[in-house]
């Protein structure tokens, strides 16, 4: 049963991240996703400091706000100070992450967070933190519920906003001329990415979030040109990585998050070599 919950947790993160990540890589913002996943750390630490005294939802939103702050800072550096984009990204997220680590060190006694967990999470702990109602009813792991709700938010966002996201991703200038607010879709997407990062952080850590944001969508992108197919394929690759990754981790007795990433990387490598249209070996054969 624990194994089932581990895979379920991994899959929930994988689907949410892969769907959002598809839009990120098409918008050439893969590294912004990477930056956000690190830069929400101070928000998470502050949320931990405030502890159980506050409602969970405002706390999550507060932590996610750091993700949006990251994109604002990156743009500010880029537009106002004319710093090149990649440097703006690097400076912003390292600063915010450093701030997070300093906060963790300063409040070491009060924050139940350690650096290992920040980087690669502890998915094996997920099944142990159960949500038991006052009546004593066992509803299963708390984290699974949180991630499930997040997946619903992501799905709703993409289904409702599909048209806006599609147009601002592929036809930015056209979107501007017909009066679609590119800024609105940009910040909505960033907010959803931030929220997903924050809720996934505890269980899978920053690395698996980045990996699922980038690797399955990149793999799917090598196989198709159609956005709906790409979304479906990347979610599928995410789930396969979660299942096989769990097996690999058990076999090697290592980090589950690391193993899921490794499998996702393996799937990419296979596609990169053998994809019918894009694979480099296939192209050699037909040359």
């Amino acid at each position: 049963m624990n194994e089932f919950y581990t895979i379920l947790t991994g899959s929930l993160v994988a689907i949410s991240c892969s769907l959002l990540g598809s839009f990120l890589i098409l918008r050439k913002m893969a590294m912004v996703g990477d930056a956000i996943s690190h830069a929400v750390l101070p928000g998470i630490v502050i949320a931990y400091l405030l502890g159980e005294t506050r409602e969970m939802i405002p706390m999550l939103i507060g932590a996610a706000a750091f993700g949006v702050l990251t994109t604002v800072l990156i743009e500010l550096f880029h537009k106002k100070a004319r710093l090149q984009t990649d440097a703006s990204i690097g400076i912003t997220f390292t600063f915010l992450f450093a701030l997070g680590i300093i906060l963790i060190s300063a409040f070491a006694g009060q924050v139940d967070l350690d650096q290992d967990c920040v980087l690669y999470g502890d998915i094996a702990m997920v099944p142990l933190d159960l949500w038991i109602t006052d009546a004593g009813l066992n509803l299963g792991p708390r984290q699974v519920w949180i991630l499930g709700v997040n997946l619903l938010v992501v799905l709703a966002f993409i289904l409702i906003g599909y048209k806006g996201l599609f147009i601002t991703t592929f036809h930015e200038e056209y979107a501007a001329t017909v009066g679609i607010a590119a800024g609105f879709w940009h910040y909505s997407l960033m907010s959803t990415v931030s929220l997903t990062t924050v809720v996934s952080f505890e269980s899978v850590g920053a690395i698996l979030v980045v990996a699922f944001l980038v690797v399955p969508p990149a793999t799917a992108y090598l196989l198709t040109e159609k956005l709906p197919v790409m979304l479906g394929l990347s979610a599928l690759f995410g789930v396969i990585s979660a299942i096989l990754g769990n097996m690999l981790a058990t076999w090697l007795d290592g980090s589950i998050a690391g193993a899921m990433t490794a499998v996702a990387g393996g799937l990419f490598l296979l596609t990169f070599l053998f994809s019918p249209k894009q694979g480099i070996l296939m192209r050699l054969k037909f040359r």
């Binding site: 990649d86 400076i91 300093i102 060190s105 300063a106 290992d116 007795d253 690391g258 990433t261 490794a262």
Partner: protein
């Protein structure tokens, strides 16, 4: 204060090692970072930092020892492989460079974490300390560490000095470098190797995530102060070294504080100071300059309007109401009054009972602006052969920036004309 003196005296050998190590690391990654920054590959440092972990773990698994040189070799190999992987993915598929960077970074790091946790779970006691590559352990650097960092740092500096010209060329103009027969592929390999080495030692001080800052931030900050590569490298090295000193001081005076993150905070402060206050390219300098330009254009346009009204009325001394000036030319809300007040302060106009009037100084200045406008219109018509109705817009833009030298040249080329294309007089 006492702790600062104690720190600066470097009496404590531990402090000496930590400071020396941090300074060496800060400097060598800053120097290397200048090149990755200029080649617009700033995030390559981030990718390499994440990617050396599997190399370190494999080196440990194969050799069974934590000898820094062996681990460094493993780190260099996998770091270098990651650079090659990014390069191949970008060239051979439709994926964009930033996607390739994110992909390689997370997959290599994921494999590294898998191997590291695998090693840790084996219960092998000698593995303790491998995780310093994850988070950095600047505060516990030993003399042996400093020796390794110092050795690698010196090697990096020597390579950069020896290949300075070549690196400069492939950073600014790789096509030209290729054309004149430089071995570009070899040089890129060398530069990548140097970057990998800088990252592999730097990561031990600040950890995987923050390593990117050591590479990017000093270069980005230095870029605001100069246009010369050599100067930029020196400034970046100074920023890197100072941040190293600052970070080690903080964790010396507050031992619970980690060194690495404070080094990054110091670096970010340097970036902020530079991008705000650097004399030429800083935000404040540019903002003031934009303001000055805007003010110059506004006041010159008002002077021109006043002159044109006077020209039509054959009376340059009369005072004009705001509405009259607005009829001649449109100004943004509040702009006209603001401009007139600036002109009054410079004694070019005075406020009269019924409006504003040009002073004799103002009349001379307004003549100058109108002359430049009409001379340029003439030039566009005579030399560029534009139609009369197409010359006005160009002159509107350029009249504000024509220098006296260009003015003289224009007059000579046009044979000191008296009338502009619209048959208005060109005032002297």
């Amino acid at each position: 204060m006492n702790s600062l003196l104690e720190f600066l005296s470097l009496a404590d050998p531990n402090v000496r090692f930590v400071v020396l190590g941090s300074v060496l690391l800060g400097m060598s990654s800053a120097v290397v970072g200048c090149f990755t920054f200029l080649r617009k590959r700033a995030l390559l440092g981030d990718a390499i930092a994440h990617s050396i972990l599997p190399g370190i773990c494999l080196a440990f698994m194969v050799s069974g020892s934590k000898n820094p040189w062996i681990l460094l070799a493993g780190a260099a190999v996998s770091g270098w492989l990651s650079v090659a992987a990014i390069d191949i993915i970008t060239r051979k598929s439709k994926l964009k460079p930033d996607t390739a960077v994110g992909l390689v970074l997370s997959v290599f790091f994921g494999v590294g974490i898998l191997l590291l946790t695998h090693i840790q779970h084996q219960g092998n006691a000698s593995q303790a300390g491998l995780d310093k590559f994850l988070f950095g352990k600047a505060a516990s650097m030993t003399s042996e560490d400093v020796l390794v960092f110092g050795g690698v740092g010196m090697l990096l500096l020597l390579v950069v000095i020896a290949f300075y010209k070549e690196f400069k060329l492939i950073s600014f103009n790789p096509e030209f470098a290729k054309v004149i027969g430089l071995p570009v592929a070899f040089l890129e390999f060398l530069l990548a190797t140097v970057t990998v080495l800088a990252v592999a030692v730097g990561i031990q001080a600040v950890g995987v995530v923050l390593m990117a800052a050591l590479i990017i931030s000093p270069a980005a900050a230095a870029r605001f102060w100069t246009e010369k590569l050599a100067v930029m490298i020196v400034i970046a090295a100074i920023f890197g070294a100072l941040s190293g000193v600052f970070g080690s001081f903080i964790s010396f005076s507050a031992p619970s504080m980690p060194t690495g993150p404070w080094i990054v905070v110091a670096l970010t402060v340097f970036v902020m100071i530079s991008l705000l206050f650097a004399p030429q390219k800083g935000f404040v300098a540019r903002w003031l300059r934009d303001g000055n330009n805007h003010e110059k254009i506004l006041t010159e346009n008002i002077l021109k309007a006043l002159y044109q009204i006077g020209e039509k009325a054959r009376d340059f001394a009369g005072s004009r109401e705001l509405a009259e000036i607005r009829e001649r030319r449109e100004f943004g809300p509040g702009e006209l009054k603001r401009g007139l007040r600036i002109l009054a302060r410079r004694k070019l106009v005075v406020e009269a009972a019924t409006g504003w009037r040009l002073t004799s100084l103002g009349l001379t200045e307004s003549r100058r602006v109108v002359r430049l406008h009409r001379l340029w219109e003439m030039y566009l018509k005579e030399k560029i052969r534009l139609k009369e109705d197409h010359v006005h817009a160009g002159a509107e833009a350029i009249e504000h920036i024509i220098t006296p030298e260009i003015e003289r040249l224009l007059e000579e080329k046009l044979g000191f004309p008296e009338r502009d294309p619209h048959n208005s007089e060109i005032p002297r």
